[in-house]
Symmetry: C3
Subunit: 320 residues, 3 copies
Amino acid sequence: NVTVYGLLDLGLQKSNGDARSATWRNGPADKAWNLAQSKGSRLGFRGSEELGGGLSAQFQIEHRFNPDTGAQNNATSFWSGRAFVQLTSKDFGAVYLGREYAPQYFVAVKTDPFGQDGVGQFSSRAYANFQSKGDNGARTNNTVGYKSPKLGGLSAQVAVSLGEGSTSRETGFNVEYASGPLYVAGAYARQDQGAVGTASNSGDGSTLVLLAAHYDFGVIKPVVQYSRSELGPTGNLKNDFWLVGATAPLGAAVLKAGYARFDPSGANNLQQKIAVGVDYFLSKRTKLYADLAVSKQKGTISGGNYGDYRAFAVGYQHNF
Amino acid sequence: NVTVYGLLDLGLQKSNGDARSATWRNGPADKAWNLAQSKGSRLGFRGSEELGGGLSAQFQIEHRFNPDTGAQNNATSFWSGRAFVQLTSKDFGAVYLGREYAPQYFVAVKTDPFGQDGVGQFSSRAYANFQSKGDNGARTNNTVGYKSPKLGGLSAQVAVSLGEGSTSRETGFNVEYASGPLYVAGAYARQDQGAVGTASNSGDGSTLVLLAAHYDFGVIKPVVQYSRSELGPTGNLKNDFWLVGATAPLGAAVLKAGYARFDPSGANNLQQKIAVGVDYFLSKRTKLYADLAVSKQKGTISGGNYGDYRAFAVGYQHNF
Amino acid sequence: NVTVYGLLDLGLQKSNGDARSATWRNGPADKAWNLAQSKGSRLGFRGSEELGGGLSAQFQIEHRFNPDTGAQNNATSFWSGRAFVQLTSKDFGAVYLGREYAPQYFVAVKTDPFGQDGVGQFSSRAYANFQSKGDNGARTNNTVGYKSPKLGGLSAQVAVSLGEGSTSRETGFNVEYASGPLYVAGAYARQDQGAVGTASNSGDGSTLVLLAAHYDFGVIKPVVQYSRSELGPTGNLKNDFWLVGATAPLGAAVLKAGYARFDPSGANNLQQKIAVGVDYFLSKRTKLYADLAVSKQKGTISGGNYGDYRAFAVGYQHNF
């Protein structure tokens, strides 16, 4: 009644070494050849138990690590991927408790042509700097959440990450519609109750709106994302993020491309990133990949200035 | 030949926030709603091999973690639950080496109506402040131990936790008798050879005696525990602990209740705790629970003063 | 598609307590009885997937821990044993990425009569102080490697451990020939590109040559090892290591014995170690063992002086 699963991903990465800011830099900080992972390597355990009457119990714990050194990825959280326990009703949906992806993540990851992995990913700005609760907006600790069943293609998730008296509370939800080739979804998140964070990227009353869609034409699947955050106690920082991209199958390969622009509060500042890549599947579980990304900046951006950053990666990923 | 097992437990806990001392406070330190576990969440691996001639080999390693954040529970010991290897003879019993529960734990856990879990548990004082070797008296590192086979309901365990030149050695044993509805047991532990510890709660020559019993009438199972520690090099601190409680099945539920008093050395000082709770089993492996506990103190207690502490928890536990 | 494997090893170890240097001291630093492991206790996960056309994918991650306390063995690397992903062609060999044993390890471990385990092992000097990349020369992080298929008993491994701009790069290879009772092998390693390390034991341009062989006569299997390191930017330190030993099966037991001498740069300095031991197999997976080692030193040795050191261990090992 326990399934062991995971993946290892490693490849060679090289960049132009412009490491003035870690933001929107999904690659090495130096010019040297680096052995690094594109997707987070993991070992997980999950299981499900039928309780009768349409009820079932689930759990999932997922460890993240760096296979180039064997070190755990998150020094303070061994099970940094996921750690939750869930009670599911077939008709009424699931309640879960623990550390889990935030509602906005599930929308964003499905509409990033790179799946939020590797040098080409757009995750760093996908939440428009709404990132107070750690993990760059993707996950929250101390979460009580609800996932609805699918009703005619429609589903929803609601989550509250408790502040527990010392950090700000994060509340969020998403609504997703998936029917045939069409996927369209929205997510909202809000932080409250905290003096935690600074005006620039978090704090009491900060909000995020994220809208995204993709349509699978078969030969190509275009994706689009838009997110807007209003940050700080008075919502005085307004940041906008746009992403357009596409994936396209080509035999055993999948081509990936995307362009994104992040326009934060303030005049004359803009970040842009363009990325292309290809996955070559040796099997359903194992692939080779090559990704290339270029990002540019104009003006001053909260969270650090940097110049032009270029990186590429060729790698190997095995799922088990 | 390897069994993977574990459990995840999480629930909402709330207290009156009187956190003047961590002792006998099995709940949040603040008034905020907290997502927290009642029983220690774990992932374990164990196995057994037949060696022939009535001999067999066993191992068990058990990791403890906090599913609300994904962090390991014990920062210095990943396998903080158990980590031992064992050689068993069917006729003569088992020798084990490693980190394992101390003899007094097995007696105490069976006679705590809350199973030493959650806000209602009495484990904090169950060893009457005999707690020098860490883990609140429940486990010891560097242990060579012996577990007898069951002879007509009678069994025994002996353990020596080596001091290894830098910490005090702990020696202990238990004798348990279980026959039909009756369970009666005693345990003894002693620390030696150490300048380690302070007079108040450990040190050379400290001893513990623990006596406990329960009787299963079917409709109710009353339990009783008594422990006495004599602490410090000269045994000058004498602490007494009493617990009475009961569990009672009620359909798919089990009711739990207990009252304990801890009377440490010194005049006019006393701690009391009363707790009630209910487990509702969705299956053998999965349950909901609600627990409530109130503790009070009179006078000065070694290990920290505190006022009245109240906490309750509602939660969900899934075993796999 | 995932295999869970591992071992636990624990026993009692005692030494004369001469702990002036950790080098070549494979036992307790004090005179007390210690509960300690001889072989590194581990929990591992590995798997393989057929990709078709003679290709296959493998992964392996191996955690090391100390079962006497439950702590992870390497504080900065949870998967300190191995962590790599591999793509294998039946005809052309395997490319692997990650943290893996260095080429010199595979030769040395096969020709150490104690398998580089316990108080009797010779691993501490087996690489003649060529040990810059951590793990005493046995493993390297950030490694891109190749393992050839076996061609008429001949096989080879090549590995590059990337410096990634901050540590020295290590390059190495081995060639092994195994046919019937004969095994003969050589390994070479070199560090480059680094200002890292000191003249005494590492640094730019340091090299290692290791040659070893064993021959299995059935009643006895003699082994011999020779290694030479030239250390420092100018190769000004030349260290020599010799090992002769043998293992011999005797019913369910295996006798082990070895003698080694380490003659580092400089006049009138020499370390010698002699060790004997016996393994008694309760099954293929489970054994008891007893080992005894004595080491002596003359003169001043880089890496710390020490006097005579003696240690013995009796223990129990269970593989799963």
